[in-house]
């Protein structure tokens, strides 16, 4: 049976935890706003980029660029795993890592090796513990406000290694931000670049009727060659943005739940405390009454 003092201490402790989780919730909320606005301002660029790329791809022939050609033999698969640096965000990182692990198993056929690039400490420590081949690691980026140059640097390395033949396939695993309550681990192939969606016939009439008549300088093929590596940077950047936003959303939810759990615990503990207090008072009264009776005797 815990004494009154024990329960009191416990209540104090839970209250403090609740304060912390509440504060973390609010911090995550404000960071989430920042991450969402970064995503918001990236959208026009991404949209325009895809549009131009699509129209260029349409005009240049198949296999116009080495970045588009799938390798016949896939020996070296590279996975770019985006996780957060910090924990306390529910199953967020576990889900991402599990997804990457699944992909790794799929790709680990005889004669094929899988290597990793990690964004975020959580993924990195998993990689170290399970002794994966780590090509590159970047911490202190996901969840902060980072610039496009971070993605460009990482993307450039991937493209260079791909062209040198060190990697035959590159995939990225990241958390797609669907809504506040839902973040989904997603796998996307970065290299070779999957066939680019061409402008749909219906859309063409509205936006792109004039596109095929563009004068290009240099030729469409050369322009495409300039754009394709950038497309990889754009994908990496968007993966990082999505993961950052998802991380904050996941943490907000986790902290919200924790705050609620604290509240429930406090209610229960207060009940127990009051009962114990009442019991103590009753016991004291019994003592006094008993003592008085004895004196009368």
């Amino acid at each position: 049976m815990p004494t009154l003092k024990d329960i009191e201490n416990k209540i104090k402790a839970v209250k403090k935890t609740q304060q912390i989780t509440k504060a973390m919730n609010m911090v995550a909320a404000s960071r989430l706003r920042g991450a969402q606005s970064a995503m918001e301002s990236f959208r026009p660029y991404a949209g325009k980029f895809a549009e131009v790329l699509g129209s260029l791809a349409e005009r240049s022939g198949e296999g116009a660029n080495p970045l588009l050609v799938p390798r016949e033999e896939v020996k070296n698969v590279h996975i770019l795993l985006c996780t957060s640096d910090r924990g306390l965000c529910g199953g967020f990182n576990t889900n991402l890592i599990r997804r990457a692990e699944k992909l790794m198993v799929e790709k680990q056929q005889p004669g094929a090796t899988v290597s990793f690039t990690f964004f975020g400490k959580k993924g990195r420590s998993w990689g170290r513990k399970s002794q994966q081949t780590i090509v590159d690691e970047q911490v202190g980026i996901v969840g902060t406000q980072f610039g496009f140059d971070v993605a460009a640097t990482a993307g450039r390395k991937l493209v260079e290694s791909f062209l040198k033949g060190e990697f035959d396939e590159v995939h990225v695993v990241y958390a797609e931000f669907l809504s506040m309550a839902k973040q989904l681990p997603v796998v996307k192939q970065l290299l070779p670049i999957p066939p680019i969606e061409k402008v749909e016939e219906a859309d063409k009439e509205e936006v792109g009727a004039y596109l095929p008549e563009h004068i290009c300088e240099p030729s469409p093929e050369q322009l495409l060659g300039e754009m394709l590596p950038r497309n990889v940077y754009v994908q990496v950047y968007s993966a990082l943005l999505e993961t950052s936003t998802s991380e904050h959303a996941a943490r907000m939810m986790a902290m919200d739940n924790a705050t609620k759990a604290c509240k429930d615990m406090l209610e229960n503990l207060t009940l127990v405390y009051n009962k114990a207090r009442q019991a103590a008072i009753t016991a004291e009264l019994m003592d006094i009454v008993g003592g008085a009776e004895a004196l009368k005797g």
Binding site: K48, V52, F148, D149, E160, E217, L223
Partner: protein, 138 residues
């Protein structure tokens, strides 16, 4: 007076310019080109350099772009750049520091990997153009 053309300069991080302009001049791969309203659809890669335009009121503006792509349509010019900033927003100190860093690296790495050398040269070029633009502001 001719009609105006819409100019948009977009980077992954933000909209730098979204304005009506009378004329836009950009540093194309094969030399600077000017665009007025009614231009033939045209697409090109850009070099590092200034994009100059005259706004509807007749004031001249200058925006630094570090390469990218430009698409000209009869009524609109879109510039997709990895980074871009208006002349008054150029961080002169940072550009000077970048210049020094690039020069140092060029001196050191001449013998080493070619790619790093190329990258340092591009960085130097960006820094020099930024500084030159920043120095012309009032």
């Amino acid at each position: 007076m001719a009609e105006n053309i819409t100019l948009e300069v977009v980077t992954p991080e933000k909209y730098v310019v979204s304005e009506e302009a009378q004329i836009v001049a950009s540093p194309g791969m094969f030399g600077e080109f000017g665009v007025l309203r009614g231009h033939t659809p045209f697409m090109t890669a850009l070099k590092v350099g200034p994009v100059r335009y005259t706004d509807a009121g007749g004031t001249e503006h200058c925006v630094f772009v570090s390469g990218g792509f430009a698409e000209a349509l009869p009524d609109k010019v879109t510039i997709l750049a990895e980074s871009a900033e208006r002349r008054r927003e150029i961080d002169l100190e940072r550009a000077l520091a970048a210049k020094q860093r690039a020069e140092k690296r060029l001196a050191e790495e001449r013998a080493r990997e070619e790619i790093d050398f190329l990258r340092a040269r591009l960085a130097l070029e960006r820094a020099i153009i930024r500084i030159r633009l920043a120095e012309t502001r009032k």
